[in-house]
């Protein structure tokens, strides 16, 4: 009797929590889009930002955001996934393992501003990468790595033991089992984690302030030679990303249409995150369907 009432009350509270969470998102999205959609136009997306006149766009910043994200992921995913596999499959309980686990935790709890400071000290100054896409991506790697590691490890641990034993019983090597059985099985959950982290990377600003810089050279979008200083692909040029741009126009911009640019950029940023999610969701679903469709 009593436990039934408790049960009902507690469960309603839990549902309420979920409703609050969903409501928060609805309110946030509604606010951002309501404020920002008006200022998004084709011109806004495809023209360069203006240092002090109204009517500038966000072309370069948008490109930089994607490019920094891409480079970050190129570095992070291989290292992070293999790190996660190590922890899930190879690590034997012991001092070393617990040390590596602590390392992951440390990396995970590092404030992004600290990562930015470290990036400035090491990548920007010591290695002499200056403010660049590469410095930014390396700094982002530091704080994105633990997320991917954790996601991979969790994905592997959540697999049933049968799958591992099945592979090993077939006589596959451990590595082969991981490669052909476990990794594909854990792939959807790893993918979800990667998207989650991509969202964070895409919107990160504090770590990039000190590493990717607050400016972009004049980019020539017809020059795709990565070595050219004005090429969009050059990783040694400075790159102001969209989220840094929002911060920068709000803090030091003297353009008259700050509000428009900031709101528009925020809306674009959020829309990009939404698109990411949709895309990855579709991908994940497609993979899942393919995997489960056969048996």
């Amino acid at each position: 009797m009593n436990s039934k009432i408790t049960n009902r009350v507690a469960l309603s509270l839990i549902v309420l929590c979920a409703v609050i969470m969903a409501g928060t998102l609805a309110a946030l999205l509604g606010y951002i889009l309501y404020q920002g959609l008006g200022s998004i136009s084709w011109h806004f997306l495809t023209s360069e930002s203006n240092p002090f006149l109204a009517g500038g766009g966000i072309k370069d910043q948008l490109w930089n955001s994607f490019y920094v994200l891409l480079i970050t992921m190129l570095i992070t995913i291989p290292i992070g996934v293999s790190g996660g596999i190590y922890l899930a499959e190879y690590a034997k309980p012991g001092k070393l393992t617990s040390f590596i686990r602590s390392c992951v935790e440390v990396l995970a709890s590092l404030p992004s501003i600290v990562v930015g400071m470290f990036g400035m000290l090491i990548f920007v100054n010591y290695f002499g990468f200056h403010y660049s896409v590469l410095s930014g991506a390396l700094a982002l790697t530091v704080f994105n790595l633990p997320v991917i590691v954790r996601v991979t490890e969790d994905g592997f641990s959540a697999l049933s033991l049968h799958q591992k034993e099945g592979g090993l019983a077939l006589g596959l090597t451990h590595w082969h089992t991981i490669k052909t059985i476990l990794l594909p099985a854990a792939f959807p959950s790893i993918l979800t984690g990667v998207i989650l982290s991509a969202g964070r990377v895409f919107g990160e600003s504090a770590a990039l302030l000190f590493t990717a810089g607050l400016s972009t050279p004049n980019l020539d979008f017809t020059n795709w030679n990565p070595a050219a200083p004005n090429s969009p692909l050059n990783i040694f040029r400075s790159a102001e990303t969209l989220s840094v741009h929002i911060w920068a126009v709000n803090t030091s911009g003297i353009i008259p249409d700050i509000q428009t640019v900031a709101n528009g950029s925020a809306a674009v940023l959020v829309i990009c995150v939404l698109l990411f999610n949709l895309l990855a969701r579709g991908l994940g679903k497609a993979i899942n369907r393919k995997l489960s469709g056969k048996s």
């Binding site: 969470m21 530091v142 790595l145 082969h176 989650l196």
Partner: protein
């Protein structure tokens, strides 16, 4: 993890079978139209025997070097930030104790400059605790909803909700805090509206999805057997969740919360936009205040390398790092306690 140890012995012996069985598996796979099929088929060429052995050691090499890289990253960060952070004490001869407990921060004053970082440490801790207090119940509740209660429909809504919330950049949260919370605070509590509570609110909302998503993952990782056992002895849904699932997921739940807290602790720009950045100790949560991160972002660019203020800011960064370590020790302590 322990189950792997006996198994490792098994698979090494069965290396040779693996080749044969691989082929068989590959054929079965391709018949079943698994996407991985073609690559496996390709593999059974002449070099198969070598690739298998190579791939084992190569795979291991990759995996071990990535683990090694993570160690390097942590060591490098700790080492360099410590060296840089200690400069203000070693080279500029600031007194560590005064630095940590002093409440006056007047680095620019020509006569008798003061470097007392306590208000910032206090501000950071206060924002973090308040944010965790606000976020934890809702986040864990949502996590339980997602992992235990929700039907397909609920799942289909909540998972993207969380992922999108995580993806919303902190700058945007700050912008919203600035244009929604601050005016609200000003209207209801007077003053400028920039205060500790506004900062905690913004950060609290920001860490909601982080905590919820990790917590949901850890709840899902609890094996179904436990739940079934609880239901079998007549436990209600709530009893099962409260007495079985949460304790079983305990340490990872704490990890979720502490990770959320550490994100709150390290958040810079969003907090900076709403907290007011006053450098004295706040008397209430309705007073403007400052955190370690906000003072670093505010002042870093204006300082010259090697100046006392610059060194002092690096020391603040070192404190941030140290407190991150304390967070980790707390997690470790809690998870050990749970297990025993």
């Amino acid at each position: 993890m322990s189950h792997l140890i006996p198994l490792t012995a098994v698979y090494r012996l069965s290396d040779k079978w693996g080749v044969m069985m691989n082929t068989r598996k590959a054929m079965a796979d391709s018949a079943a139209n698994v996407p991985a099929g073609p690559s496996l088929l390709r593999e059974k060429g002449i070099i198969k025997r070598f690739t298998d052995r190579y791939s084992e050691s190569r795979g291991k090499a990759i995996i071990y070097s990535s683990a090694f890289l993570m160690i390097i990253a942590v060591v490098a960060i700790t080492l360099f930030l410590t060296l840089q952070g200690l400069r203000s004490f070693v080279i500029d001869h600031l007194n560590i104790w005064n630095f940590l407990t002093g409440t006056e921060w007047y680095p620019d004053r020509a006569s008798n400059p003061q470097f007392g970082a306590f208000p910032f440490i206090f501000g950071s801790v206060a924002v973090t605790l308040l944010a965790a207090l606000l976020a934890t119940p809702i986040a864990i509740g949502t996590a339980i909803f997602m992992a235990e209660l929700a039907n397909k429909w609920g799942q289909r809504i909540m998972q993207p909700v969380i992922e999108i919330l995580v993806g919303i950049p902190s700058v945007v949260y700050g912008l919203i805090g600035l244009s929604v919370f601050v005016p609200l605070m000003r209207a209801h509590f007077g003053g400028s509206g920039f205060n500790l509570l506004a900062g905690a609110l913004v950060v609290g909302i920001m860490i909601l999805p982080t905590v919820a998503s990790i917590a949901a993952d850890s709840i899902r990782a609890v094996p179904d057997k436990l739940r079934e056992a609880s239901y079998a002895i007549g436990g209600t849904k709530w009893q099962t969740i409260w007495k079985v699932v949460i304790p079983a997921a305990g340490s990872s739940l704490m990890t979720a919360i502490v990770l959320g807290m550490s994100r709150a602790f390290g958040e810079a720009l969003a907090v900076q936009m709403v907290i007011g950045n006053a450098r004295n100790l706040p008397h209430s949560i309705f007073d403007p205040s400052a955190t370690l991160t906000t003072i670093i972002t505010l002042s870093m660019g204006n300082t010259t390398t090697g100046s006392v203020l610059n060194d002092a800011l690096w020391s603040l960064g070192l404190i941030l790092l140290a407190i991150s370590y304390i967070f980790i020790l707390i997690i470790r302590y809690l998870s050990r306690k749970r297990v025993v």
